[in-house]
Amino acid sequence: MHKTPQVNEVNEFIEIASDFEDPLEVIREALSNSYDAKATQVDIKIEQDDEGRNTLIIEDDGHGMDEDNLSSFFDLGNSNKDDAIGYKGHGTKIYYKSDKIQVETVKDGTQIESVMDQPWAKLNNRELPTYSVDRRDVDEPSRTRIEVHGFQAGQGFDPQQLTYNKIEHYIRWKTIGGSTAWHFSNDFHAMEINVELSPTIDDTRQPIETDNRLKFPAENVDPDGEFVAEAMCKHYPPRELTVSLDDGRELTIEIVGMVGGKEARNKLPTYGKHSAQFGIWLAKDHIKVERYNDAIGADNEFFHFFFIANCQELELSANREKIRNKSGDVYQAITDELDRYMTKVCQETWYRDYIERRKLEDKKRSIQSQESSLEERLERTRGADGLSPSNPAEVIALLERYSANGAPESLQIADFQMNDEVNAILDTANGYEHASVQVKLSDFFEEETPLSNIDRFVCWKLGDLDALTRIERTSYLGEPIRFDFQKGEIQYGSEEPELIPVLELDGKVT
């Protein structure tokens, strides 16, 4: 016996409609449908009444719907389009999250009016909603008008989320409105897009009037000026890359893109965190889906690049957010070819020059900041009252000056290791001596460094005399210690105490 698995249709409708969380996705679906209907003009209005209820009105001059098409519009998973963006028949189910769907469409002289009441309430009541169909003959061109009343999506249809600015960027980035298809075809299907929000949603500017061509910022390949790398921009013209699979199939990847600095990139529309949106995008229907920044290689930073690689062999998840066939050989072949292509971009002379120029300009900036910090230091030095060394190397410079200017004994630095505990070897009248050179003598004792191998201290100042006295009253590393500041010496050890001379330079050097 064979049994057919059953589908709970109500649950499926709820599931699919709920898949679309972002209210903006309704705009994406509307634009895709109008594009598939070969519309040249699509107008989207979002209205809001006093009670905060939203109405979407989508009108286009596409080829309209007959009764079959209308069925597909309302049915689940029953698209009659096979080479179109909305081929899964899922997208329009987003409208089910509403109080009423009203469709008025004209195709080949026949007008159909259709109404579905309370779709979302009925689904949640475990009931499949129905729709009416009224036909009549008319003498007017094809068109479609869809009204969705009381629409809600995700966490509600929050008007604050729907500014013109946000919608415009979204259209350019995530919908057919940001298509790169026009780079690859002479008979590109152009579409004018208008979006109007009710003033209660956004009254800050005029409605959106745009088209479905994603354009790059103007080229600026070799600008004049000192700090120009950020403005540099180069277009990489459309290329069709062909890859053969092991089974003999051929794939075509249509790629177009640009490389540019921050100023150039800021002119691009992006959706989401601007700086994180660049890199290499994989696209289907010339709409960006996912990034594949690995193609750029570890030597390069993704944010210099904005490339869109379209391949119709990519398969997408129902909400178009993800590529579904990543584990297959198609995806592997596409990414391999993209790796090669991007290597060519990265090894191109202009790109290498651009990166060099950026580096150079960064260096120049750092020189400029160095100059100003040097000026500040100079100011401080001029205003300062005498010398004030801040590290042992500077103390050595002062020791040299002290020796050169009539010191009672000759003390020459024979060797100096900045980070060693006993950091200097002094050449004295008595031969070589191990010495510790310190800015402040008290700093040395803070570190609890053994004294066994030290013949002499050289310091700028004795430092914190109280701290030294405190050590004197206890002990240092278990042994008694005496600091005689008058004689300039340290007595250390219990049985035969060692005498370690201390030379304090402060006051002896000008």
């Binding site: 026009w182 780079h183 690859f184 075809s185 002479n186 590109f188 080229e219 180069k234 277009h235 990489y236 013209p237 459309p238 177009v256 290689g297 030597d299 391999d336 790796d339 090669r340 290597t343 060519k344 971009v345 990265c346 090894q347 191109e348 002379t349 202009w350």
Partner: protein, 416 residues
């Protein structure tokens, strides 16, 4: 006695004919390194394990070749006087080896390829300026090196050089270059004793170093370089052999310095390099190479699939290879260790011959491409060869882009 004629060019790559006495060599060419003596006796073809098997291929030993002709793998070979003492031989034996020229030994009497006799500068430098055997140490200077080279009956000889190392301090490098230049001058004084071609070694990784190397030689010589020498050999690259970018820069800069000084009619040999870098170096103007990598790979159990890849011998797919070694059931059986009484040298010898055949095949194809004079084809060949070599291909793409076909030269061709 020696001439070099350029018969075709494709960009900076060139195809030439090196004519020395009555022997002709098509360039670009790879001279496989052969150890002619290897511590053995004539009856055992002077011993040396896999080295011996390779020599048996060279000398048409039917038992090893399976009765087939493999002389095209050995049109020109490289040997070094330093290899004479490779197996810790006694002095008497060294004298015996040097008593006859290579082709005077009966076993090598049929060999009709060119013999490039290197001075072995690298090894001699490593051994503190001499050669060591079991019961002797010989100080080697330019005169002694040349005497030994000439004893081998070579077609090409080169001055005793003092190779530099990437870690050398400037002073050390300068000293080595000066010694090399002094040797070159002494070598040039004995020019007429050489019946074949005399190559001059130069060393350096980039233009300034190479200019210094040439300057020092020019200062020592009493005549212009092209009158004293028949070719230039660029050395010291072996320690950098895995850094393709450095190799390309060195060869390209050497070529450039030669052009500036008017020596670019001389052939340029690159010491110690083969494999995947070779096509790139040909593309920037190198004319010949030498390497023992075909043999070392075999000794390490590696079977070349292409210039870029190799697999362990037991994973090799002989059907996928069009070389004559792999298309011969005799060698297949050997490489698969399917014959009785096989020694490791017999198995690995056939693998070494295959590995060499792969390298020679690539150069043969490259020569044909250059002969057509079409730089686009050369670029296409390089691009295809490197297309699955991540990491390496960026150097290939850079070279093609900068020196052959800019990838993105055209202006915007979008449909507006």
């Amino acid at each position: 006695m020696a001439s070099f004629e350029i018969v075709a060019e494709a960009g900076e790559a060139r195809r030439g004919q090196l004519q020395i006495n009555d022997r002709t060599l098509e360039t670009p060419h790879l001279f496989p390194v052969i150890n002619f003596y290897g511590g053995g006796n004539e009856g055992a073809l002077f011993g040396g394990g896999v080295h011996r098997t390779v020599k048996e291929f060279l000398a048409h030993d039917n038992e090893v070749t399976g009765g087939k002709e493999y002389s095209d793998l050995f049109r020109g070979v490289m040997t070094s006087i330093a290899s004479l003492t490779d197996y810790g031989i006694r002095e008497k034996k060294l004298e015996w080896y040097l008593g006859n020229e290579i082709r005077e030994w009966e076993c090598f009497s049929d060999y009709d390829g060119m013999i490039f006799a290197d001075s072995g500068g690298y090894k001699i430098l490593e051994q503190g300026g001499g050669l060591e055997g079991e019961d002797f140490e010989k100080e080697i200077d330019q005169d002694k090196a040349l005497d030994m080279q000439l004893d081998l009956g070579p077609d090409i000889v080169v001055n005793l050089d003092h190779p530099i190392h990437p870690d050398d301090e400037f002073e050390e490098r300068l000293e080595k270059m000066e010694q090399t230049a002094a040797n070159a001058a002494r070598f040039a004084e004995r020019r007429e004793e050489v019946e074949g071609a005399c190559y001059l070694t130069v060393h350096g990784y980039y233009d300034a170093m190479l200019e210094r190397s040439f300057d020092l030689v020019e200062a020592e010589l009493s005549e212009p370089i092209p009158e004293a020498f028949d070719g230039i050999a660029l050395g010291s690259l072996v320690p950098r052999k895995d850094n393709v970018e450095v190799l390309v820069e060195a060869v390209s800069d050497c070529k450039h310095v030669m052009q500036q000084r008017g020596y670019d009619d001389l052939p340029l040999h690159v010491f110690g390099i083969s494999g995947k870098a070779m096509p790139l170096l040909v593309a920037v103007g190198a004319d010949s190479f030498d390497s023992a990598s075909y043999l070392h790979q075999a000794i390490n159990g590696k079977y070349s699939v292409s210039l870029f890849d190799y697999v362990p011998i037991d994973e090799a797919d002989f059907d996928a290879c069009d070389c004559r070694v792999c298309n011969d059931d005799f060698h297949r059986a050997r490489m698969r260790n399917e014959m009785d009484d096989l020694y490791q040298k017999d198995i690995l010898g056939s693998v070494a011959a295959h590995n060499l055949a792969i390298q020679q095949r690539e150069l043969r194809q490259f020569r044909q491409l250059i002969a057509e004079g079409d730089q686009d084809q050369v670029a296409g060949y390089l691009e295809e060869a490197a297309k699955d070599q991540k990491g390496f291909r960026k150097f290939v793409y850079q070279l093609i882009n900068e020196r052959m076909n800019p990838y993105f030269e055209e202006t915007d061709t979008t449909y507006a």
